[in-house]
């Protein structure tokens, strides 16, 4: 069934690319139809899942026996919502490019669908070789999307995007081969299977290098603080659909990888590197937010807010608490929705004004009342106002950070203030105030197509804001299992090889916190009570 998801998406790409479509309009309609069918398939498949912890609906077929690599797919609580997000964002991206993309329409839509297929592949692969294949293959569609349909500096941006990502993932490839050899040593055969890899006992000395190699690849993708410089360029130059997918799902490949590989496979190294990683996340969160405040480019503001939000997401992830990791998972989903919506709005404005310079904006609400109405929830979601989805995940991430280290939590909470500051400034500048330029006077309100796509986002913002348990209840078991493995359930042989470093002061703190978190698990999940609570500083 999982093959059906990837296969139908890939087939759709081929149908769009080589089908007998006469006009660009036909290509758009066919792609939209196929992407909606895709949503149907994904909903149907996901509805067959239960909320247990392990991998479900596994499929395994021999593929490259010489490498110990098989075509192995599976889904669990961590990947299910990311798959859903990937399905959701495609039709919206197609709608967003309806008028914006006028040249090479067929290739554009085929690439969107191919990108979707590759991303499905990354989320669903349980074989790491297969994972890497999809991971790298997802670079190419985005390379073309930015490079062919992007803005003025698109060539610079797209080459930077590919080279940055590539430099991280190539080292990860070496680490993967190393892991396969470790498997050969311990299991007697080469293996790239994630399930096999989890059973390996790896000494901390080796774990450290493997962790770093994987971490670099994912940190560049997320992107975490010192590795983020490709992101603003790529976002600013990408077409709207590219930005939505880049922020919506491609960045999640990084956080997903951190969760699936770094934390799950190298628990001791993860504990060892917890503090430096948390520090990077903290810097990134604050730095991203401050950078938003000084931007004059509409799209760049949204891009830097992504850096800030994703920093917070990884902060939750590396807090090694249930609350934090659940929050991180929710952030992946919610950031896809709220930032996707923000990029959509940027695209709507850009189509009408042909500028991203904020000084040209002002007083849009007079001309675009409907957009103004739908824009507010998006802003609130990005700020983390209670009642919207953004509140829940920010709260959970900060709670996780606070449990890991109160000082850290307090410092990270600064992002709430900064977030409110920049989002309100943005809204004020664009929507309210005097009409700033000639371009603003000729604005027309959003049409039915734009209303639909933005409306879907707004609806999700409220639904997930009020009922976060829709997601959280189905992810909890998987997240908890990962945490258990991280904090105590290490392979039997591990303590024997673990050098004294592990017994140092670092890991004992999170271990103690586990008990604390476990006790509060029920509290975390009974979230609906907290929704009305006022936590804004």
């Amino acid at each position: 069934m999982l093959s059906l998801i990837i296969g139908s998406s890939l087939l759709s790409a081929l149908v769009v690319a080589f089908g007998p479509w006469g006009s660009p309009g036909a290509v758009r309609r066919v792609s939209l139809g196929l992407s909606l069918v895709q949503i149907g398939i994904v909903v149907w498949v996901l509805s067959q899942m239960d909320s247990s912890a392990g991998f479900q609906m596994q499929e395994q077929v021999a593929w490259i026996p010489a490498l110990g690599s098989s075509y192995h797919l599976g889904i669990d609580g961590i990947s299910r919502w990311l798959v859903a997000l990937n399905a959701l964002l495609l039709p919206i991206s197609i709608l967003a490019s309806w008028n914006a993309v006028q040249k090479n329409v067929r290739a554009f839509h085929a690439l969107l669908l191919a990108l979707q297929a590759m991303v499905y592949g990354v989320f669903l692969s349980l074989d790491v070789f297969l994972f890497y294949l999809f991971w790298e293959a997802s670079l190419l569609p985005m390379y073309f999307l930015i490079g062919v349909w992007g803005g003025e500096r698109r060539l610079y941006a797209t080459i930077k995007f590919v080279l940055y990502t590539l430099s991280g993932s190539l080292l990860m490839l070496l680490a993967m081969i190393w892991m396969a050899f470790l498997a050969r040593k311990q299991l007697g055969h080469l293996s790239f299977d994630l399930v096999d890899w989890k059973s390996l006992a790896i000494g901390v000395d080796v774990q450290r290098w493997l962790f770093l190699a994987f971490f670099l690849a994912f940190a560049i993708k997320v992107p975490l603080f010192p590795f983020h410089t490709w992101l603003p360029d790529a976002h600013v130059e990408a077409p709207t659909a590219g930005s939505i997918l880049l922020a919506g799902v491609l960045l999640k490949l990084g956080t997903y990888g951190l969760m699936r590989f770094n934390i799950n496979l190298f628990p001791e190294a993860a504990l060892l590197f917890q503090r430096p990683v948390l520090l990077l996340c903290l810097i990134g969160t604050i730095y991203g937010a401050v950078m938003v405040l000084v931007q004059t480019d509409f799209k760049k503001m949204v891009a830097y807010s992504s850096v800030s939000h994703m920093g917070l997401c990884v902060l939750g992830l590396f807090s090694f608490t249930l609350a934090g990791q659940q929050g991180a998972l929710l952030t992946m989903l919610n950031h896809g929705i709220s930032t996707g919506a923000l990029f959509l709005v940027v695209g709507i404005f850009y189509e009408r004004c042909h500028t991203r310079d904020l000084s040209q904006y002002g007083g849009a609400i007079a001309k675009m009342p409907v957009l103004g109405l739908l824009f507010l929830p998006v802003v609130f979601s990005s700020m983390g106002v209670p009642g919207t989805n953004g509140f829940v995940n920010e709260f959970l991430c900060l709670r996780g950070a606070f449990l890991a280290n109160p000082l850290l939590g307090a410092a990270a909470a600064l992002t709430l203030i900064l977030g409110a500051a920049y989002m309100l400034r943005l809204t004020q500048k664009v929507m309210y105030g005097p009409v700033a330029s000639h371009a603003m006077e000729e604005l027309t309100d959003i049409n039915a197509r734009e209303r639909t796509s933005l409306g879907v986002f707004v609806a999700l913002i409220f639904v997930l804001g009020v009922f976060p348990n829709l997601v959280l209840s189905s992810t909890e078991a998987s997240v908890q299992m990962g945490l258990d493995r991280l904090l105590q359930g290490q392979p039997a042989a591990a303590p024997a090889v673990a050098p004294p470093v592990v017994q140092g002061s670092l890991p004992s703190a999170p271990r103690a916190k586990l008990a604390e978190t476990k006790g509060k698990g029920s509290e975390v999940l009974a979230f609906s009570d907290l929704n009305g609570a006022e936590v804004k500083p």
Binding site: A66, A107, L133, F134, L155, V162, S167, L170, L174, I177
Partner: protein
């Protein structure tokens, strides 16, 4: 007593014999018919002998290694793989030469005869167990190559290329001979099995080991020259851009197959896991990667770009050799797979360049194809664009193409040999190489068409060959044969 050779001895050398007989047949046909009509016959004879050679190599592929001529030659799965690849390379060269023959003055029987002689000698070097025989084979195919490189005197820089190639090649030959002398002095034999026995036998005096090592290193140097490995690579761009396109493609793919076939043979006779061999290979590999990738970054002439890319690919294959010292590492297989796949990629790329040159020639422009000629071609000629894109993505080693799978293979072999640092440095070179090939994609799809820009049209045999090669590269990327 005079040795008596049986039929089975000759059977081992079947592919080589097919090539040499084919070459003689081609020359005789040309002498008898001496007319324009003979061209068809000559082509058919060449194709036939290459097919026979390929089939004979294919037939031996799964059999047990068998020695012949008193141990002078020894085949085996790896050597037969190289021989099969060489026969395929010859056929692909034929396709290119057929297409470009008229414009590039290749319509002479001598061209086909030289091609067959070169291929026969290249095959011989991959099965040779005796370094003296290797030297003869090396010189035979080198001489044929020198002439092939200078075949079209009217082509840009053709004579300069041939002379440069010849002079530097002569130096390399001298290195090989000197190495042979050292090895003979230390081992009393130039047979690989004797050298191997010496290394694995009782401990030798240090001076003797030094002499032996020095001899092997000199031979490696000569082969590195033929492969275009840095720092012996400076001839490559000049020769490729000066030679006609079919010859350049043949040089890049054929020389790589023969060179690595010989290198694997030579290195498997010495303790390749011990100093100084891993260090030498690692330094050679990394220098070659740097020289190839950094050199390619600045090129605008398509053939020069492909020449530097050919250097870089030699570097990747050298990385795979690092795994040779470990038993059962599959390093030889990985290098074989890499060079075979490189041959496919190189022919695809050169065929597309040939199509572009054809267009230029049709417009009466006498200049080499440059990157700018590709501008805007991706959407204007979708199949040409897609084929070029597949070639570039595969050369960059990105999935879902065969280039990724084989690159993965050589790095796996190197890690298996325990060379983590070298592998890490080498793999980071892929970032630079990605930049090289992305530039081609940028020109194809992301830059506007220039007024005089011309890609090419894919028609006839060339069209079939390119589309087939592109599909094979994609297919092998998803369903690799390992």
């Amino acid at each position: 007593m005079n040795p008596v050779y049986t039929l089975s001895d000759f059977a081992v050398l079947g592919p080589e014999i097919a090539c040499i007989l084919g070459a003689i047949l081609v020359l005789s046909l040309d002498m008898v018919f001496r007319s324009q009509k003979s061209r068809r016959l000559v082509e058919a004879a060449t194709a036939l002998s290459l097919l026979v050679a390929g089939l004979l190599a294919w037939g031996r592929l799964s059999g047990a290694p068998s020695a012949a001529f008193g141990g002078l030659v020894l085949d085996g799965a790896i050597a037969d793989g190289f021989r099969l690849g060489l026969a395929g390379t010859g056929l692909l060269t034929l396709v290119l030469a057929r297409r470009q023959g008229r414009t590039q003055d290749l319509l002479h029987a001598e061209f086909y005869a030289l091609l067959l002689f070169a291929l026969g000698a290249m095959m011989l070097i991959t099965v040779s167990q005796d370094l003296m025989l290797s030297f003869v084979a090396l010189e035979t195919f080198s001489l044929a190559m020198y002439v092939l490189a200078g075949f079209n005197k009217a082509w840009h820089g053709n004579r300069e290329a041939a002379i440069k190639y010849f002079l530097l090649g002569a130096f390399a030959a001298a290195f090989f001979l000197l190495g042979l002398a050292f090895i003979f002095g230390a081992a009393g034999s130039v047979r690989l099995d004797a050298i191997s026995a010496l290394f694995h036998g009782p401990a030798m005096a240090p001076s003797r080991v030094l002499l032996l090592d020095l001899g092997v290193v000199l031979c490696v140097t000569a082969l590195a020259f033929k492969l275009g490995a840095a720092p012996f690579h400076l001839w490559v761009p000049d020769v490729y851009s000066g030679a006609t396109t079919p010859v350049a493609a043949f040089l890049s793919a054929g020389a790589k197959l023969a060179g690595f076939g010989a290198l694997i043979r030579l290195l498997s006779a010495v303790p390749v896991g011990q100093a100084p061999f891993p260090q030498i290979i690692a330094v050679l590999a990394i220098l070659t990667l740097l020289a190839g990738n950094l050199g390619a970054l600045k090129q605008t002439n398509m053939k020069r770009l492909l020449a530097y890319s050919s250097i870089a690919h030699t570097g990747y294959a050298l990385v795979g050799l690092l795994g040779l010292g470990v038993a059962d590492s599959g390093a030889d297989r990985a290098v074989l797979a890499y060079t075979l796949t490189y041959a496919l990629m190189a022919f695809l790329a050169f065929a597309l360049v040939a199509a572009g040159e054809e267009r230029l020639a049709a417009q009466g422009k006498s200049r080499p194809m440059v990157l700018g000629d590709l501008q805007g071609m991706g959407f204007e000629h979708p199949f040409y664009g897609l084929a070029m894109a597949v070639a570039m993505v595969s050369m960059a080693g990105l999935p879902p193409t065969a280039g990724f799978i084989v690159k993965f293979g050589v790095f796996k072999a190197a890690l298996n040999g325990g060379h983590r640092l070298s592998a890490a440095v080498a793999i980071l070179n892929s970032v630079v190489s990605a930049a090289v090939y992305l530039r081609v994609l940028v020109a194809l799809y992301m830059l506007p068409k220039t007024p005089e820009g011309e890609g090419g049209r894919l028609t006839g045999g060339l069209g079939v060959a390119t589309v087939a090669l592109a599909l094979v590269l994609l297919l092998l990327g998803v369903l690799p044969v390992l």
